[in-house]
Symmetry: C2
Subunit: 240 residues, 2 copies
Amino acid sequence: MRFTSEQRLDDGVIEREFTLGEIPGTLWTPGSAAPTPLILMAHNNGLPKAEPRLVARARYTAACGYAVATIDAAGCGVRPRSAADEQARADLRRAMQTGEPVDEIFESLVGPLVDKAAPEWRTTLDALLALPEIGGPVGYSGWTALGIRLAAVDPRIAAAGFFAGGYVPLAQREEARQVTIPLLLLLQWDDEGNPRQRALDLFDAFGSKEKTLHANLGGHLGTPWFEVEDGDRFFGRHLK
Amino acid sequence: MRFTSEQRLDDGVIEREFTLGEIPGTLWTPGSAAPTPLILMAHNNGLPKAEPRLVARARYTAACGYAVATIDAAGCGVRPRSAADEQARADLRRAMQTGEPVDEIFESLVGPLVDKAAPEWRTTLDALLALPEIGGPVGYSGWTALGIRLAAVDPRIAAAGFFAGGYVPLAQREEARQVTIPLLLLLQWDDEGNPRQRALDLFDAFGSKEKTLHANLGGHLGTPWFEVEDGDRFFGRHLK
């Protein structure tokens, strides 16, 4: 893990860019010296790690006393996309505009993305936990499909907050039953791209004994800011 | 309004019993002198206002800086029950045990209870707002059916937190569309007595632009304590 830049933000949070092999990442840590819990923050596969809403969430969360890390995993963010991925994304956009069924296209795009991204997130987690300023435990926040895979296969993940969850590949819908850590599933009631009933079915499917659903009125981008604060309180109960 | 007893609790909260005509009530106020927002806290029609879980919620909420009031409205708690109500409650218990349909029995019991309780809650609100230690605005917390009626007809109610919402009389399911204040609907995912889909349909029906759903795994009595804290934060956004 090689740090390539560092800046100290107004609230004392330190924001560092890093690379780990081909993986570009960003790490936010609170100013304090003590080892802190870590939150892996991943968002929807199509967006870069520098996307402003993710950065705002990450900075807020770090200021609350967590190390927060994100990467552009293989095929995500600024990483090169395969011709097949580009084609699938174009097909998906067209199908969503015309109202055609999107399940198969979605599966062909996101299923392989999760398979490729998960090992890179775990490699990143190995490197992060070797840093003296990061202790544990580890939480996960964001992209539902990736988070299900990580929570199902990596026992270091102690609690997770997932967003949306309407379209989740078949493999992850199955893996959801193997997820037993405390969960907070956050969804938008009128999310254009995520069918509500599927998100509710997914919530039902998780194996966790302690799981909470939050839903707010509005579309995919309408999540109110207080949900970021609620997320911090959720992680506070399980990681601190 | 006549206060009949007063005690100061460990956290400075003052707990007073009162009567208002035939209505017995309890008022909790924080120790501070400044006029505070008010929360009307009503619970499910069958339970008395002295029920320990309600008292614990009320004391916590008062310590957060609110006046909190509850009453046993007509037919509720310790108030006399009509022979028809007693019969309906017996029928309801039997039907729930044997798995027979409960809709009609429920409607015949709870519909009239809401009709009788709502005016008493409004009379109580008049008297409470005349006290110098209570300012405003006013929130409502608890029993869904009564809260829908109050929020639909009384413009003084500025925000409301409802619990359960599976069985709500027909009249209130209609009135839900007229409710436009900020809402937090809290439900238990496996509530034995409140069908999940109906609670979700009710959430969908509310006219409010700002509404949030919280659901937790478990049965009717399994709500985790952090939801009381979340409720306080919800009211903090709208009443303070």
